[in-house]
């Protein structure tokens, strides 16, 4: 954590020094007499009035020429600011649109009421890597599901665990040999996507539902998730993730607010507006024939969920979000864990951004509004970096201040626009989500989300820097950071 902050501070200072030195370098040639002489009017004045030459040189090196040279820097920065402002205003409009849609719009839960049907065959994956503390809870909960047991298979995907995970799974298999078919993976490429890829090859059912090992699904959850697949257009489904260890510390409380905003408002609004709800990799599922038709899981990605959402979209499939499919998860309780988690997400998401933006924008079979929303969703991990750059430019504006009315107004307007509205519009979503969840006292913590945002911004910027420069320079492969588990029996009992 301390290292990350230190590195980021160095980066900011470096950038400031760089821009200042650029300004200095740009300003220097103007002090050269050749520039002065190249102006015929000044040259003639200088020849006739030697005293003027000195004055002219003085004035051109101070006022006009600084103005000329810094104008080019200012001009670039102005355009960058305009770009940032417009970008953030687009996100602002999107966030406000989503918030108002959730508060006042028509809500879509088309599959909520399908409770009687001939249910398709389902395999439930429980992704596990060294999950001895939590795997039993997940299995126990899934055994009690109300899904027809003759159409259900539970497959714990044990990915190279070195703790007691295998032993615990095998104990459950002994007790439920027809229901639980484990997949113990002892070698192969590390990472969830790779493990899922290997396990999926053995699946014979129509639908695949995925939970992480720290999730505790309720009785009706599997049925509820599967109900969306009666729609032949649906390729993937996503449920709502609810933090279980909310009360642990400030971080967990802030993450609870973020998750609320993200699912209760953002995802549901995208579902309502027929945009691009995102498959989130857990508490969700995918239609096996859809998965096969797009070439299965890609094991070279860090965010297999985002990658899958877009590959499905590009192949004519939709992702459905089911807000009432709620499931508890654990959120990180320590900032370094959170930093690692968000860095992995950022890298994975940006990887999907680089891969899918052009195909997405070119695909005319997808409605324009869906393509735009898809792009904005893909670029969501670029926003904190844009904000950071915006803040830096705002600081630099002090150095380059022109006192020109137009320029000053532009700076002010841009600054107010993105700081006042664009930058914080996501907080409206959190506010609306907490209101909809009827957990109103926790809304008091909203100002603290700014700190969380700043830390995320640092982590995301660092991730982008690593991804685009450091990883390429040193040819480092993406690697999977497992999120630390905290689950304790007391927490589970509290939730019960």
């Amino acid at each position: 954590m301390r290292n990350s902050i230190k590195k980021t501070l160095f980066f900011i200072i470096g950038l400031l020094v760089f821009i200042n030195s650029t300004n200095f370098a740009l300003a220097s040639p103007a002090s050269d007499n050749s520039a002065l002489v190249s102006n015929p009017h000044i040259a003639s004045l200088a020849e006739n009035y030697p005293g003027y030459k000195q004055q002219a040189i003085y004035s051109s090196t101070t006022k006009p020429s600084t103005s000329d040279t810094s104008f080019s820097v200012i001009g670039i920065l102005q355009w960058v600011t305009v770009f940032i402002t417009v970008g953030l205003l687009v996100y602002m409009v999107r966030h406000l649109w989503f918030t108002f849609n959730r508060l006042f719009g028509t809500q879509r839960h088309p599959f909520l009421d399908i409770d009687t049907a001939t249910w398709p065959t389902v395999t439930v994956f429980i992704a596990a890597h060294n999950e001895e503390t939590v795997i039993a809870n997940a299995l126990r909960a899934l055994i009690e599901t109300d899904y027809p047991l003759d159409r259900l298979t539970l497959t714990p995907v044990n990915d190279r665990s070195t703790d007691r995970t295998k032993e615990i799974i095998d104990e459950f298999v002994e007790r439920h040999p027809n229901l639980i078919k484990p997949f113990h993976r002892v070698s192969g490429k590390p990472g969830k996507a790779a493990a899922l890829k290997d396990a999926t090859e053995l699946v014979t059912s129509e639908i695949l539902i995925i939970f992480d090992a720290d999730y505790i699904p309720s009785k009706g959850l599997v049925k509820h998730l599967v109900s969306a697949f009666f729609d032949p257009e649906i390729g993937a489904v996503m449920g709502r993730v609810v933090p279980l260890n909310v009360g642990s510390n400030l971080l967990t409380r802030l993450l609870d607010l973020e998750r609320s905003g993200g699912y209760q408002v953002d995802q549901q609004a995208r579902m309502n507006l027929k945009l691009v709800p995102q498959y989130g990799g857990t508490v969700g599922g995918v239609r096996i024939c859809a998965l096969k038709s797009i070439g299965g899981w890609h094991d070279d990605v860090l965010a297999e969920d985002t990658d899958l959402t877009y590959r499905l979209l590009l192949n004519g499939w939709k992702t459905a979000y089911q807000n009432r499919c709620e499931c508890y998860e654990e959120v990180p309780e320590a900032w370094p864990v959170r930093m690692r988690q968000i860095k992995r997400w950022a890298k994975g998401h940006n990887q999907a951004l680089f891969r899918h933006t052009i195909p997405l924008m070119r695909d005319r079979s997808i409605p324009l509004i869906e393509r735009l929303d898809g792009f904005l969703l893909l670029a969501v991990y670029i926003v904190p970096i844009i904000v950071l750059i915006g803040w830096l430019i705002s600081l630099l504006a002090i150095y380059f201040d022109h006192s020109s009315l137009t320029t000053g107004l532009l700076w002010t307007l841009a600054f107010i626009s993105y700081c006042g509205l664009g930058n914080f519009s996501a907080f409206f979503e959190i506010g609306a989500a907490v209101y909809l969840d009827d957990n109103q006292n926790r809304l008091r913590l909203l100002p603290f989300t700014l700190f969380s945002f700043v830390i995320s911004m640092i982590a995301i910027s660092q991730a982008l820097l690593e991804q685009t420069i450091i990883d390429r320079l040193f040819k480092r492969a993406f690697h999977w950071d497992k999120t630390v588990r905290y689950q304790r029996p007391s927490i589970l009992q509290k939730a019960d």
Binding site: R108, D115, T116, K219, F230, D231, P232, G316, F448, D496
Partner: protein, 374 residues
């Protein structure tokens, strides 16, 4: 001094908006995770079964008691009225005058309700429950059959082995039958669930014969160029409006981005998703689900195996068969209208806002929905 004061004031002002946050952090008042009900399984009969179980237990204890039933009823909390078989209800004078019963009514055997009476507590019948005209029932369970007389209103839920519903009945909440629900005439409903739900008087004699013949073979339809066809996952996507000609067969799942019109006798061996309006003319068969974002109009004698979902409205004409005896299904929409002339549904019908059963005059040549939409 002034500088110090200024700095202090500035810091205080900056921290002012954080005071509620700091207080909530130090003295947390809202730290429980969002409540998720683990046992919620969407069972429509949940309330009724719990109530029935509780009452059965209570009655078994009652039979073993030494004191009289009347005395037990007096002592009971909430107050109860026990009704003995073949005897009129022992209503108090003010209850008769007010035409209201505020006690839980428990029928030890078959229970017959007086007409024009409002029952503000639950009703339980060990055998049949025979309603009177214009009854207003809060909730009722009968171990055998419930007969609802004309103009009855049920405000919460009702459950029995079999439920027979007369005309002009309003069923708010959940109506569930272990074996069957049958509507004789027009009615209002919200949520119905039973292995068989019959709409119309003639249904009994027709159930065994109609709609269950194997569908005749027809040539598969040529899907043409207006499609994106994905052969590897067995689905076709029509970009705009789409119409299938009469008696054609469509293989695989069909997704239509515009409106869909399935002509008479069309057979679809797969599921259908429609973004626009869906019109099924008569005798259409879908061996899969039918999902519509807009309205779905289901013509006469249609047969659909899978769930039918519309985000706006579903209109079902006479003689339809929805679901199957061994493949129960769900019909879900904010508004559902069903012609009570020999339509049968196996499973659940759930109208989030308004479910209407109506009786249309039997005119074989007229299909008002098709003409309205076209």
């Amino acid at each position: 001094m002034w500088l110090l004061l200024f700095v202090t004031l500035a810091i205080a002002l900056a921290l002012l908006p954080l005071i509620p946050a700091i207080l909530e952090l130090v003295y947390p008042t809202d730290i429980k995770p969002l409540n998720i009900e683990y046992d919620y399984d969407r069972n429509i009969r949940r309330f009724a079964e719990r109530f029935s179980h509780m009452l059965r237990k209570e009655i078994s204890i009652l039979y073993t008691q030494e004191e009289s039933i009347e005395l037990s009823a007096e002592k009971a909390v909430p107050p109860k009225l026990f009704a003995l078989p073949n005897l009129p209800l022992a209503l108090k004078e003010h209850e008769v005058q007010q035409q209201q019963l505020n006690r839980r009514l428990i029928g030890l055997g078959t229970l017959k309700l007086p007409a024009n009476m409002k029952f503000n507590q639950e009703i339980y019948a060990e055998n049949d429950l025979i309603g009177g005209e214009k009854n207003h029932i809060r909730a009722a369970v009968a171990e055998n059959t419930i007969f609802l007389a004309p103009h009855t209103i049920v405000s919460r839920w009702i459950h029995a082995r079999e439920i027979k519903i007369s005309h002009n009945v309003k069923l708010y909440g959940r109506t569930s039958g272990k074996e069957k629900i049958s509507f004789e005439g027009s009615a209002f409903f919200e949520r119905l669930h039973a292995p068989i739900i019959c709409f119309g008087n003639e249904i009994e004699k027709n159930l065994s014969t109609k709609n269950f013949q194997p569908t005749p073979f027809q040539p598969a339809v040529d899907i043409g160029n207006s499609f994106q066809h994905y052969s590897n996952d067995n689905r076709s996507i029509a970009i705009g409006d789409f119409k299938l000609p009469p008696n054609s067969v469509f293989e695989g799942n069909l997704i239509v981005k515009g409106n869909l019109n399935l002509s008479k006798g069309v057979i679809i061996n797969g599921s259908v998703k429609v973004h626009g309006k869906t019109i099924l003319e008569s005798e259409v068969t879908i061996h899969g689900a039918l999902i519509g974002i807009d309205t779905i109009l289901c013509g006469k004698s249609c047969s659909i195996d899978g769930p039918i979902v519309s985000e706006k409205e579903i209109d079902i004409m006479s003689d339809c068969r929805l679901g199957h005896e061994d493949k129960p299904t769900s019909i879900n929409s904010p508004i559902i209208k069903i012609d009570a002339n020999n339509t049968v549904v196996y499973g659940t019908v759930w109208a989030a806002k308004q479910g209407i059963v109506y009786l249309l005059e039997n005119d074989n040549n007229k299909n008002p929905f098709i003409s309205n939409v076209c």
